[in-house]
Amino acid sequence: MVADDEQQLVARLRRRDEAAFNQLVRLHQNAVYSLLVRMLGDRMEAEDVAQDVFVTVFKAIDSFRGDSKLSTWIHRIASNHARNRLKYQGRRGRRAQRPLEDATQEASAAPETGSRLSRPDHAVEALEAEGHVQAALAHLDDEQRELVVLRDLQHLSYEEIQGLTGLPSGTVKSRLHRARLALQEKFRQLSQGTK
């Protein structure tokens, strides 16, 4: 979407134009949902939180100042919602049982080939890698998963991550590094079939 189109859309959103809002949801729902699945590790939770994200967007559109892209602003709201949900889950005690989806994904991610990182791109392999990464992500703790998603999915700078998480700069660096090592190790295990 070019800037002018986005400005027009925002103007319509500020008028609480429902058709414009429908357009916005359909435009961004895959990205928001993907982000939330990565952060929460549970598709049903992600669907629930994603709906709340768009409700917040609808209510808070007047506070969008336009100094970033609309998608960035929406992703930030999604990140905040995900963090709140994780905190809420933490207070209530995490699910004793892993969600079915995780179990399914892990099962489907069980490698049948020993392929690893350096083979040429191939659709099947890409899907396999996607499953492995999601399964590996699910094994990180909440903070590690969040840092990986913020950096490697949302491409936020360290400074932005610092602002969002409240962690000191050095802590962001070291924890992100540990998170990536943990992700890499789990990814390697899944790829080799040694969960």
Binding site: N22, V25, R26, N30, S108, A129, D152, L153
Partner: protein
């Protein structure tokens, strides 16, 4: 930089977050240590692949209907009050949905109530606790039901609803309807509009209600299962009494299933994440129509061939009498 310090800097180096001075030291260490250099190369390769995989967008379910429903509930109908046609799926009849929301309140209540209480007057007394005239049929709420919604004040405290508000979560369904149907009367998001099925109380009226379930298939067949909850209907009716048949309709993506067996409510050999659509047919086969809206909760589940229930969801069948604005049936005394 020591080798360990260099390892700790892998991420920052990969992200270009090292200062010029740090970068020079980092590069110098790698240049002098071939093993460390290979380690860094492997680290970058793994991270690149993981990042690339993370960029793959997932297909979201259609979020719009749920978002609209939340906005409508939270704005108390100011937004999306007439946009039910936007709903995903073909759940209850679109144009009826608004009416449904109004009617639903009366419906379940009447289950609870003796039909004698509301069937002739068609009036619940959520707003008129003492309106017991006309046919002498209107039920009178118990004295300890301040909001006259059929749920006693003590019960409301127990279940967390507001004893002074007949519809605590302002979602259009009175507390009694939700509580009697197994939904949380304090949560505006349940039941969702796609969980309401409306059947006209006219002889031979048919409702085809479509619902969707998502399966993460591993090659097994998936079969739908309809189950009716017990109700407080004085005649002992449940959703089963209106249910005619269920059928498997379609799968998305279609290639994820081997075959669709409509009459058996079954999809054969489901592989991968697949959205399955079922159609439930209900029929009103009685001669007389109730005077107020009746509600019958039911559950629809997805089972795999080995009998494992992999998904289930609750719904509410509303039986709607003709009339401009029928209300939900209320119990004669609060519960």
């Amino acid at each position: 930089m020591t080798p360990e310090q260099t390892r700790q800097a892998f991420s920052a180096a990969y992200d270009g977050e090292l200062t010029d001075e740090e970068r020079r030291a980092f590069d110098a260490t790698l240049a002098a240590d071939a093993e460390l250099s290979r380690e860094y190369t492997a680290f970058c390769a793994a991270l690149s692949q993981a990042s690339a995989a993370l960029q793959e967008p997932l297909d979201a379910p259609d979020l719009l209907p749920g978002v609209q429903q939340r906005l409508r509930a939270r704005s108390r109908g100011r937004f999306y009050a007439d946009k039910f046609a936007e709903r995903a799926g073909t759940g209850p009849v679109g144009p009826l949905a608004v009416v449904l929301m109004l009617l639903a309140v009366v419906a379940v209540l009447s289950l609870f109530v003796a039909l004698t209480g509301c069937s002739t007057s068609g009036r619940a007394q959520a707003s008129q606790p003492d309106a017991g005239t006309g046919g002498g049929a209107a039920p009178a709420p118990a004295p300890d039901d301040r909001d006259a919604d059929g749920v006693c004040d003590g019960t409301e405290l127990l279940i967390g609803s507001d004893p002074d508000t007949a519809d605590s979560d302002a979602d259009g369904l009175p507390d009694f309807v939700e509580a009697a149907s197994g939904f949380d009367p304090s949560d505006p998001d349940v039941p969702g509009l796609d969980q309401l099925a409306s059947l006209r109380a006219q002889p031979n009226a048919i409702l085809d209600f479509e619902l969707r379930a998502t399966a993460d298939g591993m090659g097994q067949g998936h079969t739908g299962l309809f189950e009716a909850y017990e109700t407080l209907d004085p005649e002992g009716l449940t959703a089963r009494d209106y249910f005619v048949s269920g059928s498997a309709v379609s799968a998305e993506p279609p290639d994820n299933v081997r075959d669709v067996q409509p009459g058996a409510e079954r999809f054969g050999a489901v592989t991968g994440r697949t959205r399955l659509t079922f159609r439930l047919r209900f029929e009103y086969h009685r001669d007389a129509a109730p005077g107020c809206v009746l509600g019958y909760p039911f559950r629809y589940s997805l089972k795999t061939d080995d009998g494992q229930r992999v998904a289930s969801r609750d719904f509410l069948l509303l039986v709607l009498p003709d009339g401009a604005s029928p209300e939900y049936c209320l119990p004669l005394t609060c519960v």
